[in-house]
Amino acid sequence: MTDKKQTYTEAIQRLEAIVATLERGGMGLDETLKLYEEGADLLRLCKTELTAAEGRLNELQLGEIEAELQAEEQ
């Protein structure tokens, strides 16, 4: 159920690693470009996750939500 969240956390961790590697320096042009592209992809993914968390605000009484759920299950 938390697959997406794990992805966000993992993405952040991977981003940290990529930035640290690039900042340490010493790799070739090819590897630099590869890491940069991976980092940029991860950034896009994280931003998408942030917008995905916004949505509807439901405020219901217990009876109302139960009735809704029951109606949906039929």
Binding site: E49, G55, E73
Partner: protein, 420 residues
């Protein structure tokens, strides 16, 4: 007549009668040091230090007094408290009223019994391993939070306000339930069941929203009795059974409930729950922006470094032939100096050789031969004559001795074979 006799035979003065009753009442062991239970009413503590009240239940009541300093009085005792007293019956003569002289008084808490049940439940959960079972991880970015709490409560509006401050528009479903009173337990359990259904992906899909991935269950502060539903087994079991992480957010900082012990996260208050599970959106964006900046700066520098390395290599390539020449020059120099040295050495050697040669030459110098008594003959041209052949009579010759020479003329020649 003194009247005394008459008194004993006539109607009894009321005072004497009351005293009689008192003696009887006080003497009866049944009315001494009796433990009694009831509710406190008309509780009054006077400045004199005495405390007056009535002890009652639905079937009856009696006045009671705690004389100053007689016993310690629990400060929680108040109007309506359920207490147990240790008291003896007494009679207040001036009023002819029966009252209880209280020797000890203790509040009977409903809580006492509840506490006992709570401890038993905790013990049971510990035995079952529920207290140290592995917990669900709280999602970094909750996609859909279910909040189970009192509808319209202060706790709910605090939580809503905090969420809006931290992550405006974060998706959430509030399930309003009764959080105190006799129906609270049942409603909280049903609220948890509804949240569980909302966490089911297929139900969520039908509703057109992501499944609930985090549940907050709680309420604001109140008396221990008000919070008690969160200490009861049905609520506790429903929290344990939740397939998604549950945050227990009940009461104040100091209230520890069984729900806190089994939840995936214990928040000290409802507001604390929000602060611990709802990230601050601008901070998240800031973090991402920072990563973006660092990523691009580091990449650019890395590319720049690579370019610089290339240009250094290029420059080195360009000067490489010159370097070869210089090397050759240096080599030639080194070689020539070595040649010089070896030439000098060989010259020295030859000089020595020459000296030796000179020495050996001087050993065979004609002068030395002459000194030994030989003489050397030369013709007029200076040629050394070593044979008599070719000599002409009358030819002028020079005879060389060690210390001089003499001119001579050939008179006659001889060979070893005979005269010519």
């Amino acid at each position: 007549m003194t009247g005394r006799g008459e008194v004993t035979t006539g109607p009894l003065p009321i005072g004497q009668f009351v005293q009689l009753v008192k003696q009887t009442v006080v003497r009866d062991p049944l009315f001494k040091n009796q433990a009694l239970r009831g509710e406190v009413t008309q509780w009054k503590q006077y400045a004199s230090g005495h405390t007056y009240f009535s002890l009652r239940d639905k079937d009856g009541q009696m006045r009671a007094i705690i004389w100053k300093g007689r016993c310690a009085i629990d400060p929680s005792i108040k109007e309506g408290s359920e207490v147990i007293v240790l008291a003896s019956l007494d009679l207040y003569i001036q009023r002819g009223e029966i009252q209880l002289n209280v020797e000890r008084i203790e509040p009977v808490s409903v809580l006492g019994e509840l506490e006992k049940k709570k401890r038993l439940l905790v013990e049971q959960l510990r035995k079952e391993g529920e207290l140290d079972r592995p917990r669900h991880m709280i999602p970094t970015l909750p996609q859909h939070i279910a909040i189970i709490t009192g509808a319209g409560s202060a706790a709910l509006s605090d939580m809503q306000r905090l969420i809006e401050n931290r992550w405006p528009g974060l998706r959430r479903t509030v399930i309003g339930v009764l959080v105190q009173g006799p129906r609270a337990t049942e409603e909280i359990v049903r609220g948890l069941a509804a949240a569980r259904r909302l966490s089911n992906p297929s139900v969520a899909k039908k509703r057109g929203e992501p499944p609930v991935d985090l549940v907050i269950v709680g309420r604001g502060g109140g008396s221990p009795e008000d919070l008690w539903a969160f200490n009861l087994e049905p609520v506790v079991r429903a929290i344990i059974a939740s397939p998604v992480p549950v945050v227990s957010a009940v009461g104040h900082e100091s209230d520890i409930l069984v729900s806190d012990l089994v939840a995936d996260l214990r928040a000290s208050t409802p507001s604390d729950a929000i602060e611990r599970v709802v990230p601050v959106l601008p901070e998240l964006y800031y973090l991402l922006d920072e990563f973006e900046e660092r990523l691009s700066v580091a990449s650019r520098r890395q590319i720049h470094d690579s370019k610089q390395l290339l240009s250094i290599l290029h420059a080195r390539l360009r000067v490489a032939p010159m370097a070869g020449l210089n090397r050759a020059k240096a080599k030639v120099l080194a070689l020539s100096s070595r040649i010089q040295i070896s030439t000098n050495q060989s010259l020295g050697l030859q000089a020595t050789r020459l000296a030796h040669f000179e020495a050996s030459l001087s050993a065979i110098h004609p002068q030395r031969v002459l000194e030994r008594g030989y003489s050397m003959t030369q013709n007029a041209d200076g040629d050394v004559l070593s044979s008599s052949k070719g000599l002409q009579v009358g030819q002028k010759i020079i005879l060389n001795f060690a210390d001089g020479s003499a001119d001579a003329e050939i008179k006659k020649t001889h060979t070893d074979e005979g005269e010519k």
